[in-house]
Amino acid sequence: MTAHIEIKDVVKRFGAATVIDHLSLSIDPNEFMVFLGPSGCGKSTLLRMIAGLESVDEGTISINGARIDNLPPGKRDIAMVFQSYALYPHMTVADNMAFGLRNIGVAADIISARVAEAGRMLEIGHLLERKPGQLSGGQRQRVAIGRAIVKEPKAFLFDEPLSNLDAALRVRTRVELAQLRHRVKSTMIFVTHDQIEAMTLADRIVVMNNRKIEQIGTPMEIYSRPATRFVATFVGSPTMNFVPVRVAGGETGGATVILGDGTHVKTAIPTMKLKAGNFTLGIRAEAVRVAIDGQGVTSGTVDVLERLGDRTLIYTKLKDGSVVVAEDIGYSRVAVNDTVSLSIDGSRVHLFDASDRAWHCEEGLDG
């Protein structure tokens, strides 16, 4: 059983403060949807509204066409994994998992079978008689997921479930979650502020900021065609470079932008809808390369080097003072204070106008 979740024009207020402002969203059956955004953007509140832990002030939430926003949490056929796991400390692992099933009167033999199956699936079968206090963080996390799985809900809600784990365990658990989602066919909503979790797990990502949705799209859409400057800033590491530019008018095909130091960069952004004037050029570090033999379009002085092993990030100050992060190979020979020539891949740049609306490259246009 899976869920098609429809959120229509929902509003949530805490006193005078509006924390969700007329938000609409549709989540497909079996989809892994990630709500991504900074702290306070409303993503957890939205998740809690779906769970029934927060009331909906306006709008509706439906599952498979039936309204659920007026139902108590236990009647929504939804399971949730909390950031703090929220395991019952005085109950054993098995009792933690069985508690919800007992409350709805499921037969004891069915409960035992489901608990055993979840224990096997999550490799916590040997921990069933322990209490949460006797488990490591990762084991508790699995129990929390197991408690959700045994209910066989229409939808799973995850509220930043990896944020309490250490870095290594977080990566491992992330991979396990990705595997789990293919075994447990169900709609899943995952809240995080970690873009890597979002990019690696999601079918689609909802990027939220300041109570509203900035963009909904697949991870690669979000990464390669960010709808707003916020999305471009929030997704991707290092953060996208932003350089003030001027767009020369009267062209056909791809627009040419002029950097502050007078450098002309030919892009693959169609000029048709662009008006000549001032824009912000967005370029990811991997689209700015150190050019051999001074063949680049511009140059700058190296401020900082970040050697990440497989690649090197080079923080370069251009002649007009703007800082651009460029990427080079792991064994880059560049040193701090060097003057380097930079090439810019015009087919992978973005332009943002004064209202932060984004303009992207199109295939087939010369960059």
Partner: protein
């Protein structure tokens, strides 16, 4: 460097020894009167009348204890104390838990004001309401009854405060997880939250029981009939003008007898009592 370290360890060890000696001395000061009482209870009254130093040498006797079992009302008083203290403890735990849950978890109009009013109860000394309470209980014909001895103790603002704070400290995610697990409000209270408050319940239960067991003023006023005396009142009633000279051994045997249930309680709940007292000290 190593010399400095060994000097510091030696200094710490000698410091520990001083502390240990102080603790032993203090323990002796505490236990000496108890041993004195036990010793006196094992001597004939007549012998003690001549000289209480006879406690240091035989003969010893259990006559005083046999006299208690045969002639005294002390069993009735112990029973009364058990009923009153036990009843008061149980009802206090039930009421304080429910009230604490309500104040910590439920949203209802006037909750915060009501909580302040309950806390104000901590500032009202028992003596201030004693006469009014005596009159009301008289009108309701509650004197010389177990209800009359138990009811006043049920207004326990400290218990409500303690349980409220304890419930507040339990993460709300547990309630929410239980809500998603289809649990009713009562199930959440009974099966999820209440078991987590056992340490607070133990603290409150022990303090309530000990306070009630040792309470003297209200039982003295409310329980005027001998068969409704609690142990404290009953013990005091036996102390006639010459009891301390003519019946000292018997009196001490009664005291030992009266203290025994508390001792047993302590042996059973030693861990919780130590935690409760040290916790209260830290707070």
């Amino acid at each position: 460097m190593s010399n400095a370290r060994s000097t510091s360890i030696m200094g710490r060890e000698s410091g520990d020894r001083v502390v240990l000696l102080l603790v032993i001395a203090l323990a002796l000061v505490m236990v000496a009167p108890v041993l004195w009482v036990i010793g006196l209870s094992l001597k004939h009254n007549a012998e003690l009348m001549a000289n209480t130093n006879s406690v240091f040498y035989p003969p010893y006797t259990i006559t005083n204890y046999i006299n208690i079992l045969g002639t005294s009302s002390v069993f009735r008083w112990i029973l009364n104390s058990l009923i009153v203290s036990g009843g008061l403890t149980i009802f206090t735990l039930v009421l304080a838990s429910l009230a604490g849950y309500g104040f910590a978890r439920l949203n209802f109009p006037g909750r915060d004001i009501l909580f302040i009013i309950v806390l104000l109860g901590l500032a009202v000394p028992e003596q201030a309401v004693l006469i009014a309470r005596h009159q009301i209980f008289g009108m309701l014909k509650l004197h010389n009854s177990y209800q009359g001895l138990i009811l006043p103790g049920l207004s326990a603002p400290f218990g409500v405060f303690l349980m409220t704070q304890y419930f507040r400290a339990i993460p709300k995610e547990l309630d929410e997880a239980a809500l998603l697990d289809n649990a009713s409000r009562f199930t959440i209270f009974w099966k999820v939250l209440l078991p987590l408050t056992v340490p607070a319940q133990a603290t409150l239960g022990i303090f309530t029981f000990l306070w009630s067991w040792n309470d003297y003023l209200w039982p003295l006023i409310s329980g005027t009939k001998k068969e409704m005396f609690t142990l404290t009142v009953g013990m005091a009633s036996t102390q006639t003008n010459f009891a301390q000279s003519e019946g000292l051994g018997f009196l001490m045997a009664q005291a030992v007898f009266a203290g025994a249930p508390i001792l047993i309680l302590y042996l059973f709940f030693q861990k919780y009592i130590v935690t409760a007292v040290s916790g209260a000290a830290v707070r």
